[in-house]
């Protein structure tokens, strides 16, 4: 992680991850609403899938293009 914070792409990568965690905490206030996606996917599940997808895309871009030890 020391190598990640030393350059701009790494800082952007960490910023995206941090924002996604804050977003996960923020959306919890909507979990009282009975919303189902595709007829069965509850909000906490859908939010988590989006959260993992954000981490996945950020990781793919950073680790395969910018990570100094790649």
């Amino acid at each position: 992680m020391r190598e990640i914070i030393k350059h701009r792409p790494g800082k952007i990568f960490l910023f995206v991850l941090a924002i996604s965690i804050i977003g996960m905490l923020y959306v919890t206030k909507y979990f009282t609403k009975p919303i189902l996606f595709f007829g069965w996917m509850t909000l906490p599940f859908v939010c988590g899938v989006i959260f993992i997808l954000i981490w996945l895309v950020a990781y793919l871009i950073y680790f395969f293009k910018y990570w100094p030890y790649r």
Binding site: M1, R2, E3, I4, L17, I21, M24, L25, T28, K29, F31, T32, K33, P34, L36, F38, G39, W40, T42, L43, P44, F45, G48, V49, F51, I52, L53, W55, L56, Y59, L60, F63, F64, W67, P68, Y69, R70
Partner: protein, 498 residues
């Protein structure tokens, strides 16, 4: 039929362990860290199924079944936490251990902080929280045995314990990792297959039909705060943070030290996100939050709603009632696989802490490899007996033990671990003060919950105290020596840059 299949399954695992014994190099490095030669595929199965214990089949769906879908936040946190371990800490810890031939992460930290007392403190803390968790796994299987065959849980407990002992004694870390590939495939197939079969048999309209039954009969199971009001915004957010601390689970941290090369750290997060987070962990979620409650609340159900600790067995009960006996046996094999794949890694990790960090570190520093391996094996036997005793003496629901006891306990070495690897200014005084204060506060919170503000999970306040003390005391005490800076930072940077 069931007993024959389970005997054959056990025999295959034993044969793999014997094969592992034959090909092993008989060195401490080979026995404890698989010769630092684990490649990408084995590493993925090793880690994913070291994480996916009997808890994934019993505790997690059971808790979702009782309290609604918000507990999934813990798992989302865990997925991110495991990936973070491999992205942020893993490469450096791997390089430190490889350059200095360390066999345990606690040994690495004790050298990094130049402190033998820290080695003692961290080893004792980790052992205190990992050992009881090992015993819970065979007991979970014992209950599964009982649900399937009607035989006393003792038989299942003994069966699992014997397999565990053989795998770890004969094969060490290498065979523990290899066996996880086989066990993981069996577990994932059984878990996913049972879900597909039950849904197609009971809900022709698919998961939407199952969800609509819950929406009509128990709509509170689809939203926060859940039927019992457990999940507020604070507890849901807390579950995510507790999950993120998965990066400090000792049996996962040690896996980074077994990696063959640094490319492992580039690829494992991909598998963690896709195969672990999006695919595998969706299975217990769908089981526990949609399928099991719908089965219990559908008209003419064979599986009436259950409460309390009985919810741990809900998936097994549904499978046993609705699917053929042979498939129930296969699913039980999957559960045994899950329990063994986790407990074996935990057992190995705990035994290394005892032999390498306590015995070798304090009493026999000049011991040879053969002695070290012997002590590790003796420790394995002692730990399994002790952990079973604790788990039988104080039975708790799987979900609660993991999230409320084991994870907060593991978190108490996180500041020393993260700071030791990433922060040059972290000192032994800071690490010792933080770890001791955090653990004492945690234990006090178990005894008297108002001390941790009555929070369902004591991790957050205790970790905050730990981190603050670590930072403040580190800044107030003399910095680590130049030698430490060179050995644990400069040389590591150079090595990883090659």
């Amino acid at each position: 039929m069931e007993l024959f299949a389970l005997s054959l399954f056990g025999l295959i695992i034993l044969l793999i362990a014997v094969y592992g014994y034959k090909i092993s190099a008989k060195t401490a490095e080979d026995y404890m860290l698989a010769g630092r030669g684990i490649g990408i595929i084995v590493m993925f199965f090793f880690v994913l199924f070291a994480i996916s214990s009997a808890w994934t089949f019993y505790g997690y769906p059971g808790f979702l079944y009782l309290h609604g879908p918000c507990y999934v936040y813990f798992v989302w946190g865990c997925v991110a936490g495991f990936a973070a371990l491999y992205m942020f800490l893993g490469p450096r810890l791997w390089a430190i251990a490889r350059l200095n031939r360390f066999l345990s992460p606690v040994e690495a930290l004790s050298e990094r902080y130049e402190s033998k007392p820290l080695r003692l403190v961290l080893a004792v803390i980790l052992l205190a929280f990992i050992v009881p968790y090992i015993g819970i796994q065979p007991i979970g299987v014992g209950l599964g045995f009982q649900a399937l065959t009607g035989i006393s849980p003792i038989v299942g407990i003994l069966y699992t314990t014997i397999l565990l002992i053989f795998i770890v004694l004969l094969g060490g870390m290498r065979i523990t990792a290899w066996v996880n590939v086989l066990l993981g495939i069996i577990y994932a197939t059984a878990f996913f297959g049972s879900l597909i079969w039950i849904v197609s048999k009971l809900f022709p309209g698919g998961l939407s039909e199952a969800a609509s039954i819950i929406a009509i009969k128990r709509p509170e199971l689809l939203t926060a705060p859940g039927p019992k009001g457990y999940f507020t915004s604070v507890t849901i957010g807390g579950a995510l943070i507790v999950g993120l601390l998965a990066l400090s689970w000792p049996h996962i941290v040690i896996s980074t030290m077994t990696a063959q090369d640094k490319s492992i750290f580039k690829w494992i997060p991909l598998l963690t996100f896709v195969a672990g987070g999006l695919l595998f962990y969706s299975i217990p979620f769908i089981w526990g939050s949609i399928v099991a409650p719908a089965v219990s609340h559908m008209d003419g159900t064979l599986v009436l709603p259950v409460v309390g600790k009985a919810a741990d067995n809900i998936v097994q009960t549904i499978i046993t009632k609705h699917l053929p006996g042979w498939f129930s046996t296969f699913v039980l094999m999957g559960v045994i696989a899950a329990a063994i794949s986790t407990a074996a890694v935990q057992l190995m990790t705990a035994a290394i802490l005892i032999s390498r960090d306590l015995i070798h570190g304090f009493f026999k520093p000049g011991a040879k490899d053969e002695q070290l391996i012997k002590w590790t094996k003796v420790a394995v036997i002692g730990i399994i007996i002790f952990s079973l005793g604790i788990a039988l003496w104080n039975p708790v629901a799987l979900a609660l033990y993991l999230t409320r006891v084991a994870v907060p306990g593991f978190a108490q070495w996180a500041p020393a671990l993260v700071g030791g690897i990433l922060w040059k200014r972290g000192t032994k005084q800071g690490a010792l003060t933080g770890a001791i204060a955090g653990t004492v506060y945690l234990i006090a919170g178990f005894i008297h919950p108002p001390l941790v503000f009555g929070l369902g999970n004591p991790l957050i306040p205790t970790l905050i105290v730990n981190v603050i003390l670590y930072i403040i005391v580190s800044l107030l005490t003399p910095p680590p020596s130049k030698q430490v800076e060179r050995r644990f930072f400069d040389e590591v940077d150079e090595f990883l840059s090659q």
